[in-house]
């Protein structure tokens, strides 16, 4: 019962919408019952006198989606005849805002009468040209010509004359033409968009990344050191906690935590700033015609460079553990790029929604924080496997969280430790990334034009 009450309450605001729907239905299904239609129109005007905008959309919907021009013409005729008797200025506004395809002969006569009544003689003369020849047309024409002689022309008349001129031009031009062009997004080209942008704008991206790095530590005394201080402090904290809480630690614990935190902070940076990449660049997006991915790529690039520089902080630890780098070192940049690609994929999706609902960035920041604890950042995947997790959950976990695998990969680049989880999980994580990117890239190219309007 409560639900129905709520529904009724909500429906109050949309009576006008419902009436419009009913009218459209009537116009399409039973166009001959004109008395019924005009009755509903009178009702509609009583509930919402400013109805023209919604009706314009309804008419366009009829023309372009349902291809029912006859119904559109009828709807237009009824709207103008309702408005003409109530508010002639609004009626004329409606006429000149509406799609000219919907204007039939009867409506044109109505428009003429309206102009004539309002003493827009020049405009009404022009409209007469559009009306098909009938016996009264020539009479009216001579009548108006006499009227104009003694009168000074009003500015409003001149404006309407111009509008009528454009209207008639458009009417003669579009009749018989097909539906308007609608931008179609091609699936495969949408996937290639982002890499192509990255390549074409590589010089500019380089410049933007350099700017970000320059600005980041401007006016700070320690400058670059801050990039290292944070992971260092966190590593010490977690080591301390582990020392108190647990007895099992792996051999390279400080090294593993350090790598985990540095990469995760880079990933979080991409997600947090990437989600806001469209929103925070409003000024540029509204002035320069650029591929909109460029800001996201800029953020990702900055993160990659920052992580690569910060990772140098582990060199003392490598010396301490007497680790000599092997060919496996190449796994680090590879996994870093995979992590960045994952961040970009998520952000392609979130950044477009962020422009409409600003909640998304809050949601993402919560997710990044929770993800920090659920991903082996300050512990290792090995500890997780050896923990008290049932194996089927572990499988699901590894499928859902590819970052866990990429992090482990990055660690093994330095520590040379290998974990026995089977190679197939790496391929699954790669598939996860590809599917996510496919969805996000397609979503982005479908919605970017709309998203920019919300800025």
């Amino acid at each position: 019962m409560e639900g129905r009450g709520l529904q009724r309450f909500a429906a109050k605001g949309s009576i006008a919408q419902k009436l419009i729907k009913r009218i459209v239905k009537l116009v399409v299904n039973s166009p001959t019952e004109s008395s019924k239609i005009s009755e509903t129109f009178a009702l509609l005007y009583d509930t919402d006198p400013k109805l023209s905008q919604s009706l314009i959309y309804s008419i366009e919907n009829l023309i372009y989606e349902k291809n029912d021009i006859a119904a559109a013409k009828l709807l237009f005729l009824h709207t103008t005849s309702t408005l003409a008797s109530k508010d002639s200025k609004q009626c004329l506004d409606f006429v000149y805002s509406c799609d000219p395809l919907a204007i039939g002969q009867d409506s044109l006569k109505l428009v003429f009468e309206l102009h004539y009544k309002e003493e827009h003689y020049l405009a009404s003369l022009l409209i007469l040209d559009g009306v098909s020849q009938e016996h009264w047309v020539n009479e009216k024409r001579t009548e108006i010509a006499d009227l104009i002689k003694d009168k000074e022309l009003s500015k409003v008349d001149i404006i309407y004359q111009n509008l009528a001129n454009l209207l008639l031009l458009k009417r003669s031009k579009i009749t018989g033409q097909g539906p308007p062009n609608v931008k179609k997004t091609k699936f495969f080209s949408s996937l290639l968009q982002t890499p192509i942008v990255a390549w074409e704008y590589r010089n500019q991206l380089g410049r933007m990344i350099r700017r970000d790095l320059d600005v980041k530590y401007q006016k700070s005394i320690l400058g670059w050191a801050w990039g290292i201080i944070e992971p260092l402090a966190l590593t010490v904290t977690f080591l301390f906690l582990f020392d108190i809480l647990s007895t099992t630690t792996s051999r390279y614990m400080p090294l593993n935590i350090m790598i985990g935190i540095i990469i995760w902070s880079g990933f979080g940076h991409i997600l947090l700033r990437g989600t806001k990449s469209l929103e925070s660049n409003t000024a540029v997006l509204q002035r320069v015609n650029l591929p909109r991915q460029i800001f996201l790529l800029n953020i990702a690039g900055t993160s990659i460079v920052t992580v690569s520089l910060n990772i140098l902080a582990i060199i003392p630890l490598l010396i301490y553990y007497q680790i000599t780098p092997t060919w496996k070192l190449i796994l680090f940049p590879a996994s870093l790029i995979l992590v960045a690609a994952y961040g970009v994929s998520v952000s392609l999706f979130t950044s477009t929604i962020q422009t409409k609902w600003r909640d998304v960035s809050h949601l993402v920041s919560v997710a990044v924080r929770i993800g920090f604890y659920f991903t082996p950042v300050f512990f290792t995947l090995e500890m997780l496997i050896n923990g008290r997790i049932p194996p089927e959950f572990l499988t699901a976990y590894l499928i859902i969280n590819p970052i866990a695998i990429y992090l482990t990969l990055a660690r093994s680049a330095f520590t040379n430790e290998s974990i026995d989880i089977g190679q197939e999980y790496f391929w699954i994580s790669l598939l996860h990334l590809i599917l996510l990117y496919t969805f996000s890239a397609y979503w982005f190219s479908r919605n970017e034009d709309k998203a920019v309007k919300y800025l």
Binding site: A10, Q17, D99, K170, A283, L290, Y454
Partner: protein
């Protein structure tokens, strides 16, 4: 058609915007809108604009606030894609709005020349080659090495205009650029625009400064409610705009 002669052709361009309704985002209203079904609210920013702009001409756009002038410029500049209708713009387009281009506040003006120049499609060598010209024209002198946040709005506009002009655009779109500049800057930029037009650059200007428009424009378009009210005669359009 005669594409070479008309670099900008708009054919029945329609653009809708979502309503920025502040109350809309409360949870209660969002929830209720689920029941209301059709909760899309749009307003029409441009309704059926037909426009052809000749190569090498200066076109001014006048109209009240919110009439759709800036939106029209942005559609020509490719920032908004029209919801309906067709638009063809041929050549390199640069849109210059009052507060400069892609400026970074913390960097000095000189770095911003490179940054902005890159954003609008100049390469490194090109910018390096023209750097001195840009600085000279902007009249910023030693301030060019000061961070951009210390600039006045007029100084920003001068730098922006200077970069835009030196990037050799084929179509230059100016949105209220002259309103912040001083007399000297306005005189200089007017001269520059006329000089560019001789080199076959097409210029579209939005301004409330009718005097400036009258001096530099070949043609003036009067827009209201997203519709072109008058686009034929320059004098008439201005007269009409003043009277209504």
């Amino acid at each position: 058609m005669r594409a070479g002669k008309f670099p900008i052709v708009l054919d029945d361009v329609v653009l809708d915007f979502p309503f920025h309704n502040a109350g809309k985002t409360t949870i209660q209203k969002q929830f209720l809108s689920l029941f209301k079904g059709n909760n899309k609210k749009w307003f029409r920013a441009l309704s059926g604009i037909d426009l052809k702009i000749k190569k090498g001409s200066v076109v001014g756009i006048i109209g009240d606030n919110g009439a759709g002038k800036s939106t029209l410029l942005r559609v020509i500049g490719g920032i908004y894609k029209p919801d309906r209708g067709k638009i063809t713009v041929e050549g390199k387009v640069i849109l210059l709005a009052s507060l400069g281009l892609g400026f970074s506040n913390d960097l000095p003006g000189r770095d911003n020349i490179y940054l902005t120049g890159g954003l609008i499609g100049m390469n490194e060598d090109e910018i390096a080659h023209k750097e001195q010209d840009i600085i000279d024209f902007s009249g910023l002198k030693e301030f060019i090495d000061a961070p951009l946040r210390t600039y006045s709005s007029g100084m920003r506009a001068r730098l922006g205009f200077s970069i835009a002009c030196h990037s050799k655009p084929e179509i230059l779109l100016l949105d209220e650029v002259f309103s912040v500049g001083d007399y000297e800057f306005r005189r200089k930029s007017k001269q520059k625009i006329l000089q560019m037009v001789e080199g076959e650059t097409t210029v579209v200007v939005v301004s409330h400064n009718i005097q400036t428009l009258e001096e530099i424009c070949d043609r003036i378009i009067y827009i209201e409610n997203g519709k072109i009210l008058m686009s034929t005669s320059k004098k008439y359009a201005i007269e009409l705009y003043k009277r209504t």
